[in-house]
Symmetry: D2
Subunit: 334 residues, 4 copies
């Protein structure tokens, strides 16, 4: 059995890792870390965990814990200061934060501080499972992608590999509120979010450099917040300079993803909504040609394929396990 | 025109006062106070107010502002320390907080501090408009009731006046989230509240002494939080020791409220839900005899009839105005 | 007093007309029509209307009802068959349905039937109040715009009047569920909509020809459904061929709308969400230049400025009344 | 492997059976039945099922399908007409509808028709897994309980076995909307339910006779609808004639459920909300003594422990399998 540790287990992605790994046949979560000193018992936060059954510890990056893999489900701009210590230990690391996803300069700009261990960035394989599967197989360190990035990159990747790439790409994305994490902030109060849709971070969201890196093109990224717990729907709009037909586009997408367990390409007549993937590690993609534009809708569950589920998928790859272990649930509906 | 000041104008009841008074033909809101030092412009909080159009000031109870009436839309346990200064000024005061609603001893117990001006409690008329209308006509100070208290007291008051009063009264109430106010707290985050119903404060909620005072009987009060912005549905269950019939019960209720503008008694076959009162100062009451129990459902909008609307109704009474001024909206639906 | 009739009063736009006109100082709703034979009493549908207080009648277009203005809050493809009769009566007509908004050919294509009175289309003034105010002043017939169309046209109109117009315009819109109306359909059930965001009708939505007609350019319109009752947020993306600056763009917008009561232009740093307009006839517009794209966010309440509120605004114009009569509410929040 | 059939697979409990059995190591769903003739492909309803991968058949009770167990996830008042045919086949039957839960007379009264096979009622073991485990071990037929009944019976069962039983029992229950099923009805539209709480069926709900049968006492049952997809919170209030202490009450509950996998008794200080059980087969129960009343809160996921999950638990018992097979998920949060 693989022994796993989770740092930040009381956050939304941390608890989701805990929940999903609980159903994984090859993993035991043996170490749970939380910096929240007011929480003495995991049961106080998540009562479905029996009181006293899970010990919460403070994480110390200098300690070589007896684990095989460490998941960092921490806020951004934290692990970059830990990494120079962490590289001294022998366990694999999957970092769900942004700290090792993008080049030093982009990090410094978008996260407002100097990267504490820039030489470490190159040690991390970028964790888009479907794209970097081969590199992940031998990796010790994985920088798990952002939720928006995953939806957009999976949605546009096949197009990005065509002759023209993604031309004049504009993405209008809609996310549920769990994407904001559990930070206590007035703007996340129930009454501030419920019954309202908001635009924010237009063309300057932090996930943009990660998308542009993967897709090798500029991305005009316009995120929105909608009143639901989970789910991202990314609406991707591109030009069609070569006059590609629907059949050609569909073929490219089906061909790219035909062997994938978690990516499903649907036809231009299929409805598409986030319900179809809630509670799963799936990403549904609907590529269309309409009025000579290329339109691609991509939906996923931001907490699973957009975070903790993809982290486990990456762990499965890094350990040579069947990629679907712990991740075979059907969507929960309603 | 009556010149009004609002302390705590950036909270949920404060902004609702501002909104409703904006439609009141006899009132101008001339003074807006907020203790939130990070807010320099009301527009930053409520963008529907034009930037710069409303000046936000710090409130100082020792200052005699040139206003006629002051609304205190402050958190609990604040105005009790201001009142010894405030009585020196000539303006009328309507306190939406709990500080002058209940006897000193109850206040100290339920709000965890010593009352700063216990001799002032008797100066306040309790602001159940339908019950204390006569006393309010000559009042300078009004202690506006709690939202739960209003729904329960209006629902049970006619029964409380019968020979037996309310016998073995048990109230199971369901409230929307705005009742928690705008306090930034993990338990009020969207994802913590959405898609869940919670029981809390069973038989020990702070509004209980106010209900017991008005109804003159013990009240077993069991509140619940449901995922919606506004609305309270109070389900009131009592014994029927004298075997009252439906007709007798209905008559008592209709008789009590027949001249009221804001209380509507509906028949035992009518459906009842909070939608019917959203956005209004109305309270719908459905008294029933079933299986020899007395069951009364009472619904209101917690921010209006449960707070700011009733405060304006009380102001109208205190000034001898038509009680419905500023409060004649039909419910917003959907 | 103006005597008004409402056809389809039990639908979502019908009841909103009823609600808003109830606060209008110059209008009495004297005739309420519903084709729903199962409803004998308006109180059965909207219990806040007292039982028996409003008579519901069947509408007969051949009858000359003693009213001054008739609001048609009917489903699409209904009034086009009535109009040949209705023109014989002397009352003004404001049609909230699509039947007289667009040219015959577009109607036939998008609504799947032959228009029953194509010669009538030209008699209707298109009811974008801010654009056709002069024409409306003398109009007998008004074709009230669609909710999406209003948000998009108000958002893009100032740009459409510039030298280049709207270049490569793409609109990604998000709507609350009341926009679907009260039609009983599996896809509108609570559990089918709640906790999910959906894309639909991409580049082929029925409101598109109305937008293109007003803006005089092709519109790639991509609507989405989000889980909330009310509100539309339209995200409008255009090219910036002449390199317009933020100041130039802001000036154009502020100049266009500087005298408008219901349109507010906000700065590029202002947050924007549908909350800001819920319960009002307002439209907030945020024009931005970012990365050399023109981005415009437009928010409104689809039931008010997107339907019934604009209908009343148009009626006010048609009768030479102050445009804000009955429509001066501040937004309801939370 | 056990071969299972599901009748009514496109409804909310049917799809949940399909979803949960998909993760069950000992079961294959080999037959899916739907009476909905407009659905030709399961993928049209539930796109997460690949198109063509599941054949939907019409169900004919006279056919002896090659299955081991049949789940009836049908509307009420349907299977009672099928049972005289079904008893001729050799497969086990778990009926999630109400048809064989209660005595003939109660069925006729509450479901408005004559029971088509009253002699069959006695053949069914009532499917409260924790109470009828022994009887279920040898059962061929199981009448799976109602969702409200499960929450109330599990919550009150330990008390019902004490010397006095449940005295003056009153239950105020709050349910999410999926409990209404997928029936297309105006009252279930998103805008009719969202942002509102409703009382209905007070003291006359169909699940009452089932509760009274199990608990052997009258139950005053008062249900409410709250705006969320899943979850029931039942608030149970009883007298405490013998002056039982909190410790005594807690002991009785802990003793009753100490060996149960799915029932968790929590202490009087623990918070309780439906979140804690969403997506699981768990029932959390919080028994309290307050002000000399016995108060018990019981929460469960109505679609799982209240329907499909308990049906699978019962199947596991009927086949001598580990009771938790297919049901070991932790709650999904947020």
């Amino acid at each position: 059995m693989i022994k796993a540790g989770i740092v930040g287990v009381t956050g939304y992605t941390g608890i989701e890792l805990f929940r999903l790994l609980n159903q994984h046949s090859e993993v035991n979560v043996t170490h749970c870390f939380s910096r929240n000193k007011s929480i003495s018992d995991f049961n106080d936060v998540y009562p479905f965990v029996e009181s006293g059954s899970v010990e919460l510890m403070s994480f110390d990056p200098s300690i070589d814990y007896p684990i095989d893999v460490l998941f960092l489900a921490t806020p951004h701009a934290q692990s970059h200061n830990w990494m120079k210590d962490l590289v001294n230990h022998k366990y694999k690391i999957i970092d769900l934060s942004a700290d090792f996803r993008i080049p030093e300069l982009s990090f410094n700009t978008f996260y407002g501080c100097d990267h504490g261990y820039p030489e470490g960035i190159g040690k991390f394989v970028r964790g888009f499972s479907e794209i970097y599967r081969e590199q992940l197989k031998n990796a010790d360190y994985c920088a798990n992608p952002g939720c928006f990035s995953t939806s957009v990159v999976l949605g546009a990747y096949p197009l990005s590999k065509t002759e023209t790439g993604c031309v004049n790409m504009l993405v209008d994305a809609k996310s549920g509120v769990s994407g904001k994490g559990k930070k206590v902030d007035e703007s996340s109060l129930y009454c501030e979010v419920n019954e309202s849709t908001m635009a924010y971070g237009t063309f300057c969201h932090r996930h943009t450099p990660e998308m542009e890196l993967e897709l090798n093109c500029p991305v005009l990224f316009s995120p929105h917040l909608v009143p639901m717990n989970r789910g991202i729907l990314a609406s991707i709009y591109c030009d069609n300079p070569l006059g590609m037909t629907q059949d050609e586009l569909s073929d490219i997408y089906e061909d790219t993803y035909k062997d994938e367990s978690f990516v499903r390409v649907v036809g231009p007549e299929s409805p598409i909504k986030t319900h179809y993937v809630t509670g799963t590690n799936n990403c549904f993609i609907k590529p269309m040609i309409i009025k000579n534009k290329i339109v691609i809708f991509s939906v996923l569950d931001n907490v699973i394929k957009g975070a903790s589920g993809q982290a486990i998928q990456n762990m499965n790859i890094m350990y040579g396990l069947n990629e679907t272990l712990g991740l075979s649930q059907l969507p929960i509906f309603p």
